[in-house]
Symmetry: C2
């Protein structure tokens, strides 16, 4: 969707309100409901999505007048920054829009917790991403590989960035892929793992794109994985710690999250495969001395994962149950017990060659 189209959607929203007023109707905005009751797992796309329940937000309604006003304030703000082609953070927006209404003690917004959900309201009702509204999220994530992209007029070669790699920006919609030479994408949860693989030039040796997420990937990183995978038909392998949190990260990359169910089409990549660590790996690679006792929290989350329809694969059930039974977990770094280059020279090549992935 082009910037022009996003702007038109915002203008259309405004015109609709004007037309309500002119017709003498109660001005209203229709917004999809985002509570759990309206979040569904779409078997066909294998993505978490919003259902089709919506609610109307009216101007002439004591309970809704304020959030109606806030919705229009945010929409108008977004229209301005999209038009001017500038980006900003949701916190900056909050400060920018916060003011006291004339002849009253009433503020437009009292805290950011009021403006944040309005942004999601707009995303869902207009069917656009927050990044397309030019509201950026915190950046996190780094990438290296045989890829050349064009971004804001610069040509950036991801294979020529030394030890640093390219810091993945918050909004990757406008990035053009000029050259993509890769057989697959390897996503790794830990920065230390990224550094090790990057230093060993793993991406060069195995002709892949290497992405480090530094924990739960930021929206920009998720979107980049999706775009690269879809637009260049590349398989994606994800590596996380062998624990509930790591596996949850995997499930979010794959199927989206409940909090961002409205954006799963853009952020979720259902075809990703899990390369490790699994609990089975611990025995297979002799890492027994390098495990950690699972906490109550770990076990609780593991049980939750067992219930997720989007993690309903027999291979996953086996691994999760193995964890619950052994009450252990292990980090990616545990592989270093077998040598610092074990990850890049043995573990990953073996898994990829033998296609030992979890779905």
């Amino acid at each position: 969707m082009s910037r022009k189209e996003v702007e038109e959607k915002l203008v259309k929203l405004g015109k609709k309100i004007v037309s309500d007023i002119e017709k003498g109707n109660n001005p209203a905005v229709e917004i999809p409901i985002r509570s759990l009751s309206n979040i569904v797992f779409d078997e066909k796309t294998r993505l978490l999505k919003l259902g089709d329940k919506t609610a109307k937000r009216y101007f002439f309604n004591v309970a809704q007048a304020k959030s109606f006003m806030q919705t229009l304030l945010v929409a108008s703000f977004c229209r301005d920054i999209v038009k001017e082609n500038i980006h900003t953070s949701i916190r900056d927006m909050y400060y920018n829009l916060k003011r006291t209404l004339e002849d009253s003690d009433e503020n437009t917004f009292d805290e950011q917790a009021e403006s944040d959900p309005i942004i999601v309201d707009l995303e869902t009702s207009l069917g656009v991403l927050r990044e397309q509204l030019h509201l950026i999220a915190d950046r996190k994530g780094v990438v290296a590989g045989n890829v050349v992209v064009e971004d804001r007029g610069d040509e950036i070669d991801w294979s020529k960035l030394g030890s640093g790699g390219w810091s993945i920006p918050s909004a990757v919609e406008d990035i053009k892929f000029k050259k993509v030479k890769a057989d697959f994408i390897l996503v790794i949860e830990k920065n230390a793992g990224f550094e090790r693989l990057h230093e060993d030039r793993f991406w060069k040796k195995y002709n892949c794109i290497l992405i480090g997420t530094g924990g739960q990937p930021a929206r920009g990183t998720r979107r980049l994985i999706k775009r690269l995978s879809v637009e260049h038909d590349l398989p994606v392998y994800v590596m996380t710690d062998s624990d509930s949190y790591g596996w949850y990260i995997y499930s979010v990359i794959k199927s989206g999250s409940m909090a961002l169910a409205h954006a799963s089409d853009e952020l979720g990549t259902p075809n990703v495969k899990f390369i490790g660590l699994t609990i089975s790996d611990i025995e297979k690679y002799g890492l027994q001395k390098s495990t950690i006792k699972a906490t109550e929290q770990d076990l609780k989350r593991a049980k939750e994962l067992l219930e997720y329809p989007w993690m309903d694969y027999k291979e996953w059930k086996r691994e999760i149950k193995l964890m619950l039974q052994k009450k252990i977990k292990a980090e990616i770094e545990a592989l270093s017990a077998r040598g610092l280059k074990f990850l890049s020279e043995v573990y990953l090549p073996e898994k990829i060659e033998k296609k030992q992935f979890l779905p």
Copy 2:
């Protein structure tokens, strides 16, 4: 210090132990003491430093035998990775060195909390940085500007990285500055601030190097600031939130921290100046509506800052006392109340032109 020299220092340590044994002496390593009692503020360099108290760690000493063994294990590990020219994280090192000693239940290390301080022991006793031992810290921080660097054989132009910027690596020792065209360095605590200034091409318009730290800067980022400032004689202006935590970040960039007092020469940049936000800015720029009530924790930390000899400047005392009196704080984003480009087009240019800095 070259890789060769670091390796020689490690080898010399080993040879000293061998010589102790051959002479029939109790093998020992001499290690500077790092407790508060041995941390001093050096008025001359304006840096926090370790004093000259040291302690000896002996092999034949029931209380010290284990940590003596651990010290040599870590030293030997570092010698290997320096020699092989590979880098790794301290967590990977821990896993790599962890094992059960033959014919015993005793592990070399039971947890990473045991191996981490040994690294600092080596840093201090050998007078080298952890990065020079090839042990990397987590990366964080991003940079843009009219600079070309050489890193691992790649030439990287910081002015041609689109919206992404260059992700600052953990170890910046080996980076060569090929071209540095800048009048000053601007360090900003918040990622959102970096993004805004980067989008407005602030670094181009004002011929500076723009560094985003994303909170308390990582070691690599601090070292990069120091190297750029010293090697290219550039003034550094730091921008943080107007609160105790932001000001503490400033004090760490400037004078080093107690935890890393041994590395202040490499990580601290005493000439940095504080560009804002100050509490006075709130009134000056009409941000009264955008302040936040200071918490008890904020006030407690502010009182601590008042006691730091390295923050003993009348300008700072005035600001800190103003905060304690008004019991408020403000974020960088608060400037957005005056418009999204207020930071890049009014606030910073005005401060820089009028040299309105705090020491």
